[in-house]
């Protein structure tokens, strides 16, 4: 079975079957990660380009390692090294990379819709590794996979997503994915950062962290961009973390077997207390581990789901 699409741009436009296919394929790649030799020849001869216009450690390393474990050739390009500074347009940069034979371009960009722009103009596959506040589909797939691994299901679970939802592509992708797979999503944070409009898409919107966490199976804290303080979204970090920071005390309202998640990088002591981030409920590092398997699955499925020998 293959994905019906050339590109992975967002979860909102995906069918439930496609999401499930990626998740089950990821499970089989998790097994590969447990082997002594972690490399398979699946994408030998293919070229994957990581085109990152925003700083990233986790996602970029995850995609790079995923591609290498599938035996693909990998090129990493980040803003400072690219010709963007010379005034070349995004589209030209991408077309040049395609002309060099890229099979997959993984793009991260601060503009919502930048991957869509490339996908329309290029024949090669485009994977969205995070665009503006739009989507971060592989992160959401990682989160879904991690919850499934621990809970065995998504349907019927209550997931609280807490923090700067307005600027969060992770929150959006998770909202689309979780609701498609039958989970209940609560969004909480300061009124300046939780758009009420999201209620129209099936989320429960609240400004109270306690309300959001109450009886939750999963609590996902979002990274707070510290520079937002200067833009009048909230008065001080002190007040933010006092009202919307995840603490041991607050977490007691959740189910006893609650999972605590964070897409990283973590501002310890701001959106999440260190003892929670490192505590028994935390699956933050499992998310990172699963990231590899999920990205291997995505690269594999977008490359036609065929191994090298089946390539004609």
């Amino acid at each position: 079975m293959n994905l019906k699409r050339k590109d992975l741009l967002g979860i909102r436009e995906m069918e439930i079957d496609e999401i499930n296919l990626i998740l089950s394929t990821a499970d089989s790649f998790k097994e590969v990660a447990g082997r002594e030799i972690k490399k398979v020849p699946t994408l030998r001869g293919r070229t994957v380009v990581n085109l990152f216009f925003e700083p990233s450690t986790r996602t970029r390393a995850s995609f790079e390692l995923a591609a290498k474990r599938l035996s693909a050739d990998v090129i990493n390009i980040s803003t400072s090294a690219s010709s963007v500074v010379k005034g070349e347009t995004l589209l030209d940069t991408a077309k040049n990379l395609e002309a060099m034979g890229a099979d997959v371009i993984v793009i991260r960009h601060s503009s919502s819709g930048a991957p869509t722009l490339l996908a329309r103009a290029l024949r090669c596959s485009v994977i969205n590794a995070g665009d503006g506040a739009h989507e971060h589909p592989t992160q959401a797939l990682v989160d879904l996979s991690t919850i499934l691994e621990r809970k065995g299901r998504l349907s019927g679970l209550t997931v609280a997503i807490v923090g700067d939802v307005l600027h969060s592509r992770v929150a959006r992708s998770n909202l689309w994915g979780l609701t498609k797979l039958g989970a209940r999503v609560r969004l909480a944070g300061p009124p300046t950062m939780v758009p009420r409009e999201l209620a129209a898409f099936g989320a429960e919107v609240t400004w109270s962290l306690d309300e959001a966490v109450d009886g939750a199976d999963v609590v996902m804290a979002l990274r707070l961009q510290l520079e937002r303080q200067g833009r009048a979204y909230f008065p001080t970090l002190r007040e933010y973390s006092r009202l919307w920071g995840l603490t041991r005390e607050r977490l007691q309202r959740a189910k006893p077997d609650v999972l605590v998640m964070h897409p990283g990088p973590v501002n310890r002591g701001v959106e999440i207390a260190p003892e929670i981030a490192d505590g028994l409920s935390s699956v933050i590092l499992n998310q990172v581990t699963n990231g590899l398997a999920v990205r291997m699955a995505v690269l594999y499925l977008l490359s036609g789901g065929k191994s090298e020998s089946g390539r004609g």
């Binding site: 503009s111 819709g113 722009l117």
Partner: protein, 439 residues
């Protein structure tokens, strides 16, 4: 449509053209009926149910067609001087002619900005040499459109500017706006404001609402426009100046203008075809050709704009024709420039309101002709005997598909590509001369 010469005679004393048997709609004279329109030496000679056609006259058979005054666009970005790669006077006026417009008002946000007599004279000179329709420049309100010091409005008016505007930017400073509304009265110039609170719209790419939230794009709330409309109305009342509000897009703005007009405030307003034809859903898929400022808003706003047109709250339909090169519109949406070309699609979009029963055809033509003409006090927009014969002939039933490659404009940035339209300009005449003929 071709004008046919009955006879060619050298040394003919007058050049006569008769447009026969069309439904002549001339709102300025309350006329709507089948007439023969006789044009002699570039002016309207008569408009009667049955004209005797001189033997040497040329004729146009307008049976089944609508004959009306040429359209007047209060809001055209001609781009020359400075941005000739987007549009020139030559291409903009040809696009205008194809869209039925015989007069376009050139916005001053060129390079250099039209804030001095020299630039105004240049625009008029180039228009006389290369344009096929009338071009009336609009001068800047402030020097460099920086919103700080008033431009030399007296000079601008003398040189031929019909209004002042810092369009593309609001006049942020309320004192400067107050002074502009006061000072412009000496020259009877309307002050056209682009209403936008820049702090509220900062970084905004599209209308703030459900769709912007879904797409993760920074939103521009309707309040960004409404806050400035409210301020401008207050200042208009304070000064008694002539305030004209450009491209009104939100229900709240329309409501405030309606209320102000009822109290006798001296305000006029315009609306653009895209704001009564499209909603913010057009942006889905990150369509840069649906990015404009003010942005496309919700169904409720579209309805309010249409009601404003119908009940007289809005005085004119203006295109905000804003050409941009294809390269610029292929940037990521938050970096792509705002605006769309509008001259060649305005008429059918407006006619859709007539088909939908929202406006009568004479009402629509009034919004495209005499009302904008009266607003800038030019002697156009009517078919009165003796008037310069700027005439547009329309086939209101003609069906066609928008094919941007066929535009006369240099730019192709339209969200209406592939739309099936009803109603098309058959012929456009400026001072009695055919400047556009379909096919």
């Amino acid at each position: 449509m071709k004008a046919t010469n009955n006879t060619e005679r050298a040394g003919r004393s007058s050049d006569i053209l008769v447009i026969r048997g069309g439904r002549v709609i001339d709102p300025a004279n309350g006329l709507d009926g089948v007439r023969d329109l006789v044009i002699a030496d570039g002016r309207i000679a008569s408009c009667t149910p049955s004209a005797t056609v001189p033997r040497d006259a040329r004729t146009i058979d307008a049976t089944g067609l609508v004959v009306c005054p040429g359209f007047v666009d209060l809001h055209t970005h001609v781009r020359e001087p400075g941005y000739e790669y987007k549009e020139t006077v030559a291409s903009a006026t040809r696009a205008a002619a194809a869209g039925g417009f015989t007069t376009i008002c050139a916005m001053p946000n060129t390079n250099p900005i039209n804030d001095t007599r020299a630039v105004t004279e240049l625009v008029i000179e180039v228009a006389a040499r290369e344009g096929v329709v009338n071009v009336r420049p609009i001068g800047a309100i402030t020097k460099g459109s920086r919103g700080e010091e008033l431009a030399e409005m007296g000079d601008l008016a003398e040189a031929g500017c019909v209004a002042v505007s810092d369009d593309g930017r609001p006049v942020t400073n309320s004192l400067v706006m107050r002074r502009a509304l006061e000072y412009a009265q000496a020259f009877d110039l309307p002050v056209i404001d682009h209403c936008e609170d820049l702090a509220l719209s900062a970084e905004g790419v599209m209308h703030e609402g459900k769709i912007s939230t879904m797409l993760g794009l920074h939103g521009i709330p309707a309040a960004a426009e409404e806050v400035m409309v409210a301020r401008d109305l207050v200042l208009c009342e304070l000064t008694g100046g002539r305030l004209h509000l450009a491209h009104m897009s939100s229900a709240g703005s329309i409501r405030m203008i309606r209320e102000a007009k009822a109290r006798g405030v001296r305000v006029t307003a315009e609306a653009c075809p895209h704001h009564f034809s499209l909603t913010d859903e057009a942006v889905i898929g990150f369509a840069t050709n649906a990015k404009m400022n003010p942005p496309l808003r919700t169904r409720a706003d579209v309805e309010a704009v249409i009601e404003g047109l119908a009940d007289g709250t809005i005085d004119a339909i203006a295109t905000d024709h804003a050409p941009h090169a294809a390269e610029e519109k292929s940037w990521p949406i938050d970096q792509a420039p705002c605006g769309i070309v509008g001259l060649e699609t305005a008429l059918p979009l407006a006619l859709a309101l007539v088909t939908a029963g929202r406006l009568s055809l004479p009402q629509l033509i009034r919004l495209l002709t005499i009302q904008p003409a009266a607003l800038i006090k030019i002697d156009r927009g009517s078919l009165s005997v003796g008037a310069v014969a700027d005439v547009t002939i329309i086939d209101p039933a003609k069906q066609w598909v928008v094919e941007p490659a066929e535009f006369r404009s240099k730019s192709r940035n339209t969200p209406f590509a592939g739309w099936k339209m009803t109603g098309r300009v058959v012929s456009t005449l400026v001072a009695g001369k055919v400047v556009y003929a379909d096919q």
